[in-house]
């Protein structure tokens, strides 16, 4: 008798758990569809310039990062270094910087452009060529730093795309932070 009662109750609970989950799932789907509809409407009404798809091949990403900035090749950067004019600006995080960086580089992550701008301005006015770099073909940090410095009046910061890897591939000298 008792077993029968428990069995019926468990069946009832099981059924209602299923029903509750179905209800939650239907509501979640409804909310999801509402979000999708609003997203589609928003793009059409606001006339956003972002396409529904595309724009993220490596080439396109690099081109977008470099928009309005000047790129420098690794050979030109090497020549600037040999002539003693290169001012390397390492835009990576301090941990990566401490494990190795280009000779004489200053560690300036984009968020610290403000604090470092005075020192960089003085060096640029003395004839140094500011060259920002990070690691990875589509790494945005170097271009963000170049833009950040440009906004603070330091023009002409060149971007060495994928600088850390390319510099090492050539076997050029690097420094390890003490």
């Amino acid at each position: 008798m008792r077993q029968g009662l428990i069995s019926r109750e468990e069946k009832g609970t099981s059924r209602s758990t299923g029903a509750r989950f179905t209800r939650a799932l239907i509501q979640a789907t409804g909310l999801l569809l509402a979000g999708i509809a609003l997203g589609v409407l928003s793009k059409e009404i606001r006339g956003l310039d972002i396409p529904w798809s595309g724009g993220w091949s490596e080439k396109e990403v690099v081109a977008r990062h470099l928009e309005g900035l000047e790129e420098i090749s690794v050979e030109e950067a090497w020549r600037a270094y040999q002539s003693g004019q290169a001012l390397f600006l390492d835009a990576r995080d301090p941990g990566s910087f401490s494990m190795g960086h280009l000779p004489g580089a200053l560690n300036v992550p984009p968020a610290e452009a403000e604090g470092a701008s005075e020192e960089i301005r003085v060096l640029v006015q003395a004839g140094m060529i500011p060259i920002a770099y990070c690691d990875g073909v589509d790494c945005p940090l170097s271009s963000e730093l170049a833009r950040g410095l440009g906004e603070r009046g330091i023009e002409g910061v060149k971007v060495l795309v994928n600088g850390w890897s390319r510099w090492r591939e050539r076997g050029y000298p690097v420094e390890i932070a003490k």
Binding site: T13, R20, A24, L31, L48, I50, W56, C134, P140
Partner: protein, 164 residues
């Protein structure tokens, strides 16, 4: 005690307002800069290129809808299920990048320090929010509680199931 916290209406109210506020605000900010958000998605290095813009254009609105539902207390079973689904997806993406050593702030491989530190912090924050979402899911949908009344009333505290 644990059961009381799990089903407390006051705890649920605070959790749904906190989660709703965060989701609505985050969605609103992202919807204003779809290119910036697309770059952030790209930095995670998980989605294939053709899907990045689609997600960048839609996800902020899904977040705003679910955030609004949580704030208003509308369709709570569905809203809490969706919020848990979203937070679990974000946690998986963060965990994956932590394991691969990718700094999600820039999409760069980080040798250590601040990059991994940020990702760890984002993951812990996400898991804390997921715990809130799970509390809401248990309370409002009753899924997994084994107590029908919890899902149907808002006075679940202290109720026990008696089989004998």
């Amino acid at each position: 005690m644990k059961r009381r916290i799990l089903h407390s209406r006051w705890v649920s109210m605070v959790f749904r307002l906190v989660l709703g506020g965060i989701f609505f605000y985050a969605g609103a900010v992202k919807s204003q800069d779809p290119w910036g958000f697309a770059q952030a998605i790209y930095n995670y290095r998980i989605l294939p290129g053709p899907l990045i813009n689609l997600v960048a254009l839609i996800l902020p609105w899904v977040e705003m809808v679910v955030g609004g539902a949580l704030i208003l207390g509308v369709w709570m079973p569905g809203a809490s299920l969706l919020v848990c689904g979203l937070l679990a997806t974000f946690a998986f993406a963060l965990f994956l990048n932590l394991a691969r050593g990718i700094d999600v702030d820039c999409g760069c491989f980080s040798t250590a320090s601040s990059g991994a530190g940020n990702t760890t912090w984002y993951l812990l924050r996400d898991l804390a929010l997921l715990a809130m979402g799970l509390q809401l899911l248990l309370r409002y949908s009753g899924v997994g509680s084994g107590d029908r009344s919890l899902a149907e009333t808002s006075h679940g505290e202290g109720r026990e199931r008696h089989c004998e």
